[in-house]
Subunit: 227 residues, 4 copies
């Protein structure tokens, strides 16, 4: 009778819940596990875009030739790591997942899994003739990836019943703060025509600002193992 | 005595269960974790098939040249994301996993892990001379991947004891609805000779229909963290 | 006080356990999660070794040209899937992980993560002039990967205290059965000089035999979510 | 009321905790799951850097040509596997994760995800004219990856409240022992100009020493499933 306890519990309660709450509510646990997988893979695939010095190429010269790709790797890895932190902070505050959150999450994952492409593009072009276009493409991709958090909070502000009660009071502030990412990366796109390297530097500055725990929900909410 | 609690419990109950139920029953928890991994990786590998503009190629022209690959990426990513949702909904309703389900699952994972190949093929050929063959290959691959759900439900209809009691009444409807995927993608294959782009568009429409929560079990059953 | 419950429990019990049992015992839960990750990724990376038809190559001809790679993909994917099933069955019966099991597991993972290389080699050469060598390399790699299970059971037969009590009586039989994999793949290596395709066919037959639940522990023990 | 139990618990306790402990404390569970993902992927991607013999190349000659890449694969895989073991041992002793640990962990993951690049570089060059530079790059990368553990323990020695009480007495010893990795790999870098192969051999010796459970925290602390 106690065998398969987690499953048995899930099953019996599922039966009870069939009446207890609407069908469109989805719990956040498995969604996070799948999202963790996609985000971890996207971050780790980035290094495949940096070419190892070929066997007929001097090692240090080959690595110097890839400095643009290495810089793009470093910035993108940390951006994806920050997205993971923000994602966890957000879903830590979510009590139920509705279909809109599920689809927003799928869209965000598609955008994050896309980031190796602009990262490779910037890595190929940062030293070249078309660096401006590469920096614009990179910054716009980052703006798109971070923009999903604003959509998440917009939806959560309108549907506070999806949040844990203690998180409801902060959702308007979280939505406001979530704008910093897309606005900052759009600013980096605007800087690109003047200086492609400056544009990447601005993204790096934004990342350092987030890392310092300022200006974003990441610094204000805890990640807990229950979530 | 309380150390290693989850393992200790698993172990002692395993001993009791050795008599309590037949050996071929397998619980769905670990199966889902492994399946999540394969599905998340297959989705994230898709972007590797889109070529970043090389350092001697203009950025925007290079990306325009890849628009077919980008469109295929977007459709395939969402199809794999939907397969993940369907997979979870299905196994949320499964109480015990028998050997047939285990093998069906392995077959489905092999098909999903295969999808980067037809996606890359369609991406390479959507603008080219052999676009029809690529669209047929792509659509048939998607039909094969989604067809496993019909086989799953066929088996579950014949073995309702594998389902949670509350899910047994819906299994015939779920089997019927699961036909929409393979039938729809077969229709996309038939459209390919007339218009390869139209064939991809039909797959995209099908995806939007599923995303809207219609015509598939995804819209009817909740994902819960227990499952 | 109830916050962070799993961690708090882990922590307090850890303190008690420091005296309660020897330091070399390691619980199997996290080991399985990490192993699942490596195995799922190795299986999913296999498809990257099959080349999509290039944009200037007819689609069906390109795929026909890759039939060797496709056959190798299919056999390797199912072999890795079976390894995952065997791995879970084995660790489901393990109560404590000692350092030897930890190192055997690391060795097995290194061998499984290696399998995309012989798979790609066989895919490149099955239709070519050096197909025998490729089939020998492939079969020996599979023999090495499956041979770890014999080492696992050899160690568990000598240290039954690592097993759940109910599993101890079967460990000698499991060790004997675990020989079928390495012996079968060695036979496939011996067949290769006569017929490389026959060698791959023999591996496929072996896989079908395992899939049918015969001759291997996979058919006799259940996977449970607790393990 | 019992539905979604883990989430509901997490939510309600989160509310209570808002007062109970400072906001910067983060529990280690999810951090480990994400870290597991990145580490497992980095280890499994390594094999992609070993080139399978092309279809017009003899198989054994092609593999012999890759012996440097194969040796680098073996050493790097085991180094990453050891890093996973050390990472688990460390976080098993951590009770709460503060922002500094979170950022140190992100830095360590970025370094581990980077390792396929120096591994591919060494693989390409170990038989070539620039083997010294490749061995220096490889050794310095390993020193950097292992150096994070010293920074972790340095922080934990200063903030013992982050550790489980029973682990506090050992943190100074763990910090001292964590120096063996970076110091050993720096020694391997110094050996490189005399003998690049000897440098890789020294790293392999260091790995064998860790595998034997000596000189590093790995041999002294248990991994448990609760952590």
């Amino acid at each position: 009778m106690t065998e398969d306890q987690p499953e048995a519990m899930a099953g019996e309660h599922a039966d009870e819940q069939a009446e207890a709450h609407p069908k469109e509510h989805i719990a956040p646990g498995r969604l996070q596990a799948f999202s963790d997988g996609v985000v971890a893979i996207a971050a780790t695939l980035l290094i495949l875009e940096v070419k190892a010095p070929a066997s007929d190429e001097p090692v240090w010269a080959g690595l110097r030739h890839e400095w643009g790709a290495l810089a793009a790797y470093a910035v993108s890895f940390v951006i994806i790591g920050l997205a993971w932190i923000h994602h966890h902070n957000l879903f830590h505050q979510v009590r139920r997942v509705d279909r809109t959150l599920l689809l927003l999450n799928l869209g965000m994952l598609a955008t994050i899994a896309f980031l190796p492409l602009p990262t490779a593009t910037l890595g190929n072009h940062l030293r070249g003739h078309d660096a401006t276009a590469a920096a614009v493409f990179y910054s716009l991709s980052m703006a798109a990836a971070s923009g999903w958090f604003t959509l998440f909070w917009q939806h959560l502000c309108r549907h506070p019943e999806l949040l844990h009660p203690a998180a409801r009071g902060q959702s308007a502030a979280a939505r406001r703060q979530s704008l910093l990412g897309p606005v900052g990366y759009l600013a980096a796109a605007l800087v690109a025509p003047a200086s492609p390297l400056g544009s990447l530097g601005l993204s790096a500055l934004l990342v350092l600002y987030f890392l310092a725990g300022r200006g974003a929900p990441a610094g204000r909410v805890r990640i807990r193992s229950g979530g």
